[in-house]
Amino acid sequence: MNSNQPENDSAKIVNESRSEVPNGAVAAAILSAGTGCFAISLFGLLGDAFPAVSHFFNFYNPTGPLSGVTTTAIVVWLILWVILARSWKGRSLPMGKINMIAFLFLGVGLVLSFPPFSDFLQGK
């Protein structure tokens, strides 16, 4: 066993306190992820409620509307991530507010994904 290992390890420890990272890029990732999750449920609900939307989302017939619902939501998530990351690059934003909006999208997305609730919204 190498007796110098602990010294080597501690020498490799990153001195994080010296590098303050602006949170813009991370805020963009968090908010867009919340929006992406919400988009999955929203598109699923719309596809379930309107036959025309369901038909539109039928990108790949064997999988049915689920293919379009998820592909579109992923595209929305990634585009939003890129746009926000460019807009907020190098900036420091109030993470409390960003988190609150992201959690709201995530929470509403979770509730909307629950079939009894989405059925209730559709009056089924």
């Binding site: 390890d9 501690s10 490799k12 420890i13 990153v14 994080e16 306190s17 590098s19 990272v21 949170n23 890029a25 991370v26 990732a29 968090i30 867009s32 992820a33 919340g34 992406g36 999750c37 999955i40 449920s41 699923g44 790949y60 064997p62 999988t63 049915g64 689920l66 293919s67 619902v69 998820t70 939501a73 992923i74 998530w77 993470m95 409390g96 960003i98 988190n99 992201a102 959690f103 995530l106 997305g109 979770l110 994904s113 629950f114 079939p115 009894p116």
Partner: protein, 189 residues
């Protein structure tokens, strides 16, 4: 002992990707505690940070593998419609479930929920992996970012659990079967 081609791929989707992902959450929880705790005794070394990044990227890859194999390999077999006038629903799991009021809920609640909520996991885990890569163990000093990463990881776990539990129970009630039969072992009487 034999399995059909569809059973093997369903196993790969559920136990290979999905099962491994669920197991990986326990390891992630411990690592999260190590880097998130402001009372930790020593910061992560460069090697430990690298390992954590690889671990989280692997979790995100497993999550994507689970939903993509589910939606584009297993789900088409599950939702396949039998030809007109066909009354034997063997090989048509969705039809089997919907043919009885005692099993219809496995589709109308279980599959309808699982097929959407499962996608929360790869989106959330991709974000969490990105945040950890960006901040590393320095995340312990950014409470708000840390809270967001933990909350999304928790939702990813919940989503993966919902999908995993319903997937197993649905497949128990109406198994995905069919395709070439592969003999795994010669049995003895």
């Amino acid at each position: 002992m034999q399995m059909s081609f569809r059973e093997i791929l369903t196993l790969l989707h559920g136990m290979g990707f999905g099962g491994l992902l669920l197991l990986a959450f326990s390891g992630a929880l411990i690592q999260f505690y190590r880097i998130f705790s402001p009372h930790r005794s020593s910061p992560l070394t460069v090697w430990e940070q690298k390992l954590l990044r690889i671990y989280l990227i692997a979790m995100a890859v497993l999550a994507w593998g689970t939903v993509l194999s589910g939606a584009y390999v297993v789900y088409p077999w599950y939702r396949a419609h039998p030809p007109e006038g066909f009354t034997d629903y063997t090989g048509y799991p969705q039809r089997i479930l919907l043919s009885s009021s005692t099993t219809a809920g496995w589709h109308s609640l279980g599959m309808e929920w699982k097929e959407h909520v499962a996608w929360f996991a790869p989106i959330a885990l991709t974000m969490v992996a990105y945040v950890i890569i960006k901040y590393g163990s320095g995340l312990s000093r950014h409470r708000q970012v840390r809270n967001a990463a933990f909350a999304f990881a928790l939702v990813a776990f919940i989503a993966a659990s919902i999908a995993g539990v319903f997937g197993a129970l649905i497949n128990k009630n109406a198994p995905v079967q069919g395709g070439a039969v592969i003999k795994l072992m010669e049995g003895t009487k």
